[in-house]
Symmetry: C2
Subunit: 321 residues, 2 copies
């Protein structure tokens, strides 16, 4: 079967149809329009089997996650998602796998009104690259480099669930039946915080999404902003499911170092703090203040209430199973 036949069969309609797509899948390029009051946000992420997802991960989850990871990058910039391009490398064609893959992708793109506008399918080891694009009004982009000493550090949702879910799948962690499914699903089907990202425009001073792990990703903000941080580990938002599954110490470790949560870490200055509740209220997304930006460049102080808390040894999720 030829490459283009494969694309044609499973992806030809691009799912959700947007008015700003002039030419969709099927030509040398897609052609789209950008409203004159918008800027374009562009991000590219690749997921490789055995590196970014388990080799036996369900096709639906693989596609869902590949899209979610990219929409999460748009969210972290404050952008509203619009289009994705998909390049899929597969070693051979399994009809059922392809159907599930398309399902997983379209479930998320429909929900966020995102159109697949093109891509490529090649024969090779299983991996996929998605380029996602979205819109932000000028001057509204949430950068990493604009946190200031004194700003408060917040995080959406819960931390550590996805890493615990991965450990359950790889038999490194056991958990009760009801809890297990929840944690595994947080790993397989992460939620990109799109609504939170756009709500935080003009409110947050800096923003990033949690892909490598809370500490690793916070460090990106600190490095880009030439700042440090104090983090209250006692404030880290840990789900009841994770809390019920592991010792308190281990829950904190998951929350600090576990990757793939795709929550947003953002900073807010004192003056904007009052607007935060209002901004996020309509999204229904939980947020928690977990610390404060300091002037001590690249230094993170962990505190448990008033005590110093030891820095965990693994400070990054290396994306290597």
């Amino acid at each position: 079967m030829k490459e283009f036949d494969l694309i044609g069969r499973y992806f030809v309609d691009g799912g959700y149809q947007r008015k700003d797509v002039v030419v969709g899948i099927g030509d040398d390029c897609a052609v789209t329009t950008v409203a004159s009051h918008q800027q374009l946000a562009v991000t590219t992420d690749t997921l490789v089997a055995g590196v970014h997802f388990l080799k036996d991960a369900p096709a639906k989850s693989v596609a869902y996650k590949a899209v979610a990871v990219n929409l999460s990058d748009l969210a972290a910039m404050g952008a509203e998602p619009a289009w994705i391009s998909l390049s899929l490398s597969i070693s051979d064609i399994d009809e059922a796998w392809m159907v599930d893959f398309a399902d997983g992708m379209y479930e998320l793109t429909r929900y966020y009104s995102v159109q697949l506008i093109g891509g490529d399918t090649v024969r090779g080891p299983l991996s996929m690259t998605i380029t996602a694009q979205g819109f932000i009004p000028p001057e509204n982009a949430l950068k990493r480099s604009t946190a200031k000493p004194g700003d408060w550090i917040y995080v959406t949702g819960h931390l550590g669930d996805a890493a615990a879910g991965l450990d359950i799948l790889t038999h490194k962690l056991d958990a009760g039946d009801g809890v297990k499914e929840y944690l595994v699903n947080r790993h397989l089907f992460p939620t990109p915080r799109v609504a939170a990202g756009t709500a935080l425009r003009r409110v947050a001073s800096a923003c990033i999404d949690v892909s490598d792990g809370f500490l690793s990703d916070l460090k990106h903000i600190l490095r880009a902003s030439c700042c440090g941080a104090v983090v209250q580990v006692d404030k880290l938002p840990v789900s009841s499911q994770l809390r019920d599954s592991v010792a308190p110490q281990q829950a904190i470790e998951y929350a600090l170092t576990g990757g793939d949560d795709y929550e947003l870490i953002f900073t807010v200055n004192e003056e904007q703090r009052g607007n935060l509740e209002t901004a996020l209220a309509s999204t229904g997304i939980k947020m928690t203040c977990v610390g404060q930006i300091t002037g001590q460049e690249n230094k993170i102080d962990l505190k448990d209430h008033k005590d110093q808390y030891p820095m965990p040894e693994i400070t990054g999720f290396e994306h290597q199973f």
Copy 2:
């Protein structure tokens, strides 16, 4: 070494700097602006080692070709290139290889004033996905679906050189020393027909680039436009280097079925034919009329002067070495 360090080291400045890039490499997304009188053309192509390029191909050629293939898609749409995103999958980090790779990429992006705005680097089998973006004024996109019976079929440059170059590299073909280098370079460093693509706006009725091979790619136009074609094999533009290296019959076969030339196949109606010389004159790009569109859906008639010419068995370049 971590993924982001790798990106940082070799690609951080993005090469050529454009004024329409508000945020470049280093944040969750790039942020760019699109002028209000322009539409956006977007294309994605993946190259896999051992499938789209030889496993021992020089790094410089691999990068050059990956960019060229994408700029060629923009050219085939009539778009002016602006930005690329690169996702690079490599099994391990070889400093010299990376330097050559960056060189090959930036050589082409500098020439075309294209900025690298982001991407991803992952550990995995060697492959790369590039998403390229460019601009076209509204209604100017050169589609595949708009050829009409009676339109003349043209092709830029020469056909078959890249396939002959590949055959030289894989020891399936021998050629004289001066000629060998030329043909191999046509395979390793293809020229995207960017200037021709933009010059053909409002002149060509349909356009595609030659990646799979002349016949295969012409078929894409025929299928999309619900037409057929008569092609004069005696008119096919074959370089003197190719003509000197193989029998006449074999040269025609290379020209008809060889892939990776990245020339443009385009159609022009009778009224626009007079404007064609003027449109392409400033680009210095050779063009040759090789046939005519017919109303016989999906049928290609090959003619050698007035005689019927047999259809070659291999009608597509399968991108499998």
